[in-house]
């Protein structure tokens, strides 16, 4: 390389002070890379692999990756050769900023003086689907012998329509692809509900089933599969029901919303669904309304049987 064709170190121009010299690393003749790590906004808690870091997708708070050199000087930082998904320049030349705005895996590599290191940063997200038809997914917990005794999803009745339930199988597709190998723990499948229930025409406030605000309704652990399967999916199961809870009649109207959290941070948009059912002892069949579906409904303010 001739003197007339000066080289600019890879980070120059997009981060630190531009350094022109004949043969990089300029001002850092014996410098070596010591390590590359994540300085902020990602974690290794519940992450497998020494080089893997993860965080939840977000529009702010970029992940900061930082290299350490020996000597750990500005001149050596300028000489670092960044490669892979290098993001944008950080506040210092030994740092890179990775945007969290999309769910993807960043492979960031740094090299200096014959030494190199890398980190993989996973920007996590989940898309929740509420399955209300077909059968329980194979990798989900199965209903087994409970409720109608089948794996059929949707509105089911049994016992000559004396009981009804809305069986759903919420499934979360995690991203980026392959996340199941790296982020095996820390997932939670959350659910909130608002219910308007009447038993014999009386609002079921005592059991907290007549609400004006969202209530935690997250499934018990036995109904969830929270370790991602090979298809990067985690699973929940629910089946709100209507049956002989009153002397003469019972009605239930419920809106649900479900989402995913990772390490306590929200990691999905809400997926909404509803269930409504009516039971009347003297009617034939006893269960006259048994309806489940996606989205939320307008919850009635008056009892159907006792308007």
């Amino acid at each position: 390389m001739s003197d007339s064709k000066k080289t600019t170190s890879p980070s120059a121009g997009d981060g630190g002070t531009p350094v022109n010299c004949a043969k990089p690393p300029c001002g850092c003749p014996d410098g070596k890379l010591v390590s590359l790590t994540v300085k902020s906004n990602a974690t290794q808690n519940n992450v497998t692999g020494a080089k893997n870091w993860a965080t939840v997708k977000k529009s702010s708070d970029d992940v900061i990756v930082e290299a350490t050199t020996n000597p750990n000087t500005d001149a050596c930082w300028q000489a670092i050769n960044w490669s892979g998904d290098t993001g944008s320049p950080g506040d210092k030349p030994n740092q890179r900023k990775l945007s969290r705005s999309a769910s993807k895996k960043f492979h960031v590599q740094a090299a200096l003086g014959g030494e190199s290191d890398y980190v993989d940063v996973w920007m996590l997200w989940a898309t929740v689907t509420i399955n209300t038809s077909g059968t329980t997914p194979a990798n989900s917990v199965q209903y087994g012998g409970i409720e109608d005794g089948t794996e059929n999803l949707g509105a089911v009745t049994w016992g000559g329509q004396t009981n009804g339930a809305g069986k759903v199988a919420p499934v979360a597709q995690l991203t980026p692809n392959g996340v199941h190998d790296v982020v095996k723990a820390g997932w939670e499948f959350k659910r909130h509900r608002i219910s308007h229930d009447w038993i014999d025409g009386v609002k079921n406030t005592a059991a907290n089933y007549w609400n004006t605000t969202w209530q935690d309704d997250t499934s018990l652990p036995r109904w969830k599969k929270l370790v991602p399967d090979g298809g990067d999916k985690i699973y929940d199961l629910d089946g709100p029901n209507i049956f002989a809870v009153g002397t003469t009649d019972a009605e239930t109207y419920n809106n649900f919303k479900q989402w995913i959290e990772w390490n306590g941070d929200k990691c999905a948009d809400d997926a909404q669904w509803y269930y409504q059912g009516r039971w009347q002892k003297s009617a034939a069949p006893q269960v006259s309304l048994n309806d489940v579906g996606t989205g939320n409904i307008a919850l009635p303010d008056k009892s159907h049987f006792h308007p």
Binding site: D197, N204, S219, L220
Partner: protein
């Protein structure tokens, strides 16, 4: 350190708080379990092979002791909630040595199912526990179906076999048991069980 005693203590703690909605206590319990497991795992590499195997084998002692404690609660507790919890935990931990106890309590009925999210158990927790334990439950259920005339017992035993196996395998198991039975009375009882199974499979396939 007596890890098995600690484990039993933890289980008892969980049983005792099972009637309460005490999220904080549950969290603290989980932290204690985490710490105990971490302590054991850290210790493993500092032990020789024999000691390591002995320490790991304590899990078998724990399971045996746990079953003993749970069966004791099942037999003596005046609380239906505690009895149901004991049954649930025998099933959840797949303590197959407890199958006979569960068979003995196969018609145990828990309180009314809760409104809301799916509960840990429904009306017949022993039946559910036997299903969870799986294959070791099938033979005792076949024996019950060959000998026990109680209608509810028979209905529940048929359900256990139906949900341990797939529908077709459950039918096959009963067909084989009935076909190979020599005793006339037992053969009749198994024929009745097969009829029940056919109806159940038809309803639930």
């Amino acid at each position: 350190m007596k890890y098995s005693k600690i484990a039993i203590g933890i289980i008892l703690f969980l049983v005792l708080i099972s009637d309460r909605d005490d999220a904080r206590a549950m969290k603290e319990g989980a932290q204690v379990i985490d710490q105990q497991i971490t302590d054991v795992m850290k210790k493993l590499d500092s032990l020789d092979d024999r000691s390591r195997m002995k320490l790991i084998s304590q899990v078998d002692e724990q399971r045996s002791e746990l079953l003993g404690v749970l069966v004791n609660y099942l037999d003596t507790s005046p609380s239906k909630n505690v009895q149901a919890a004991a049954i649930y935990m025998i099933g959840r931990h797949r303590l197959s040595d407890g199958v006979d106890e569960l068979m003995r309590h196969i018609d145990f009925q828990s309180d009314e199912p809760l409104r809301g999210a799916l509960p840990l158990w429904e009306k017949f927790p022993s039946m559910e526990a036997l299903i969870t334990i799986g294959n070791p439950s099938v033979k005792p259920c076949l024996e019950l179906l060959a000998t026990d005339e109680n209608d509810l017992h028979r209905t529940l035993a048929v359900k256990v076999i139906r949900y341990v196996e797939s529908a077709d395998v459950a039918l096959f198991v009963l067909q084989q048991a009935q076909a190979s039975e020599k005793d006339v009375k037992r053969k009749e009882m198994l024929a009745d069980a097969l009829d029940r199974m056919q109806k159940l499979v038809k309803e639930t396939r």
